[in-house]
């Protein structure tokens, strides 16, 4: 029966497990649980793949009608879509269940997290992992790979580093969006749809050609929730194309800063939310 014990305990018998063991124990058992219902797991994977695929199809249909949109062709947009959807899917895989906060709050699940010796937010994040989203990430990755091969990109070290930094920062931005939305749920009853406007609207915005946006959209999704700089602006930089008004291509190197901003906002919101929940400040 020993093998059914969590792998977290597979260490020296007398040694207490490390700090990370708790998270590893939960996550590895979540992964096993998801994979043990095989039929469900494959349906979930297929569904997730289809979501990514159809979102790509929606972009393609527009380009099927016109050759270029806002200065980009379909080949170009594959690059934008690829970076954006890959980052979004990975963020969803790791942080996606944070959008179950309304349920956690209603069912009192959060109280249980308080009884355990780990930070509450870390427990919420590591309470689940959405493996099915790997399939969707695959659509993003595929689109990115095709986009990279079909476009003329000058492959310098700087551009390679930029691509890597962009993907990581974009993932961080989308992750922070989910944590931010989770924090907002402490204040709003039935408010998930409001935050979805920005979390999922943000994903939709990140895959778009931001040059066609109106000024308010540029403020909202260019800077407040910095979507344009997670994929569109870096893609312009890689393609050697000029940026539209308000979004110069040198901003491409600023994605990590935008990621920091978004995480700052997310953690601040979460903290205020926790305060509100405990009744300290509100």
């Amino acid at each position: 029966m020993a093998e059914s014990l969590a792998p977290a305990l597979d260490q020296g018998a007398g040694m207490p497990p490390t700090r990370l063991a708790a998270y590893r124990a939960v996550l590895s058992s979540r992964i096993r649980a998801q994979r043990s219902y095989r039929a469900n797991f494959y349906t979930d994977l297929a569904g997730s793949f289809l979501i990514g695929f159809i979102e790509l199809a929606e972009v393609w249909i527009l380009f099927h009608n016109v050759h270029a949109l806002g200065g980009l062709t379909f080949r170009n947009i594959l690059l934008v879509f690829g970076i954006a959807d890959l980052a979004f899917s990975v963020a969803q895989m790791v942080f996606g269940h944070v959008d179950r906060m309304p349920t956690f709050l209603r069912a009192g699940t959060l109280d249980v997290f308080y009884l355990r010796p780990q930070p509450v937010l870390l427990q919420v994040i590591t309470s689940e992992i959405g493996l099915r989203r790997l399939a969707r990430a695959l659509v993003g990755l595929g689109s990115l790979a095709v986009g990279l091969s079909l476009n003329q990109i000058h492959w310098s070290w700087a551009n390679a580093v930029l691509l890597l930094v962009t993907i990581l920062s974009a993932t961080a931005v989308h992750s922070a969006m989910l944590v931010w939305a989770g924090g907002v749920q402490f204040f709003l009853v039935n408010g998930a749809e409001m935050t979805n406007a920005f979390v999922y609207g943000g994903r939709y915005a990140a895959t778009q050609v931001a040059s066609v946006w109106s000024a308010p959209l540029k403020v909202l999704f260019g800077f407040v929730f910095p979507m344009a700089v997670t994929a569109y602006v870096p893609a312009l930089h890689l393609l050697g194309l000029p940026g539209p008004a308000w979004l110069p291509t040198w901003l491409a190197w600023w994605t990590p800063v935008f990621a920091l901003w978004m995480w700052g906002l997310a953690l601040f919101t979460w903290r205020q939310g926790i305060r509100h929940y405990q009744g300290g400040g509100g």
Partner: protein, 268 residues
């Protein structure tokens, strides 16, 4: 009203009332509708302009009408496949529904349609208002589109409720219905013309869409209401909608009966 129909009317009103109590959720939904609406405006207007001002019968004004009507209908046409009835099957509460002297299908659909109608006010009207006041959109000035459009809208809303009900009956046989629900969510939005109007689809894809009930839920009422299609074509679309509704309700009836038998055999 015949006494037999009275319970469904009451359930419809309960749905109306229930929906109007969630004011904040309504506001949230409106924020979401508007945000997505403006993003759609940016992309679709740019597409129409890139095509030289008109594209497959759309100009800026009619594209705007499509966008804001479709956003306004999001609170009323169920494109996510989530329903209370699915939850009731999962929790076993459905046994209570079966013990009542009303049809569970009629009850669930009446209530959902009530909720959908209640959402037209706080979510539909402001969306259209944004379209008219902020963006500008063209709507027909003759009576026919409205005379045919209103019943078309009613059928579309009812069809989506009936379809989601039929979908929920999968729960009688499957332990986990999330996969089915996600599949519905992805396919229904796409083929109902939520993000891109079906007229912009390449021919083969448009043909695929018209083989499903989804355009009848949203695209057809919008096409009729905005006067994008002729009166004759509108009547034909309405006819197709009614056929899909009849087929869906029948499927729901059959599935409910089969599900009930399954439940009785397994003892819940």
């Amino acid at each position: 009203m015949p006494v037999r129909l009275l319970p469904y009317w009451r359930l419809f009103l309960a749905g109306v009332h229930e929906q109007s109590t969630y004011r904040l959720a309504m506001l949230g939904g409106l924020v979401a509708n508007a945000t997505f609406g403006f993003l759609k405006v940016a992309m679709l207007f740019a597409t129409v302009r890139a095509a030289g001002g008109t594209l497959r019968g759309y100009d800026i004004g009619s594209m705007s009408a499509y966008i804001w009507l479709s956003q306004g209908l999001l609170g009323s046409v169920n494109l996510n496949g989530v329903s209370d009835f699915a939850e009731r099957i999962k929790t076993g509460d459905v046994a209570v529904d079966f013990s009542r002297p009303v049809s569970p299908q009629g009850a669930a659909v009446a209530r959902d349609v009530g909720k959908a109608v209640a959402a037209l006010g706080p979510r539909g009207v402001p969306s259209v208002a944004i379209g008219v006041l902020v963006v500008g959109m063209t709507m027909p000035t003759t009576a026919w589109p409205y005379l045919l459009g209103v019943p078309s809208l009613a059928v579309g809303i009812t069809l989506s409720a009936a379809l989601v009900y039929a979908l929920a009956t999968a729960g009688f046989w499957l332990i986990e219905t999330r996969g089915v629900q996600v599949l519905y969510m992805v396919v229904s939005g796409f083929f109902a013309g939520l993000f891109v109007p079906i007229a912009l689809f390449p021919g083969w894809l448009a043909a695929m869409a018209s083989a499903t009930p989804f355009p009848s839920m949203m695209m057809s009422p919008i096409d009729i209401l905005t006067g994008r299609v002729t009166v004759a074509r509108s009547s034909a679309l309405l006819g197709i909608q009614v056929v899909w509704l009849a087929a869906t309700v029948t499927a729901g009836l059959v599935l409910t009966r089969a599900g009930r038998r399954t439940l009785e055999v397994q003892g819940g």
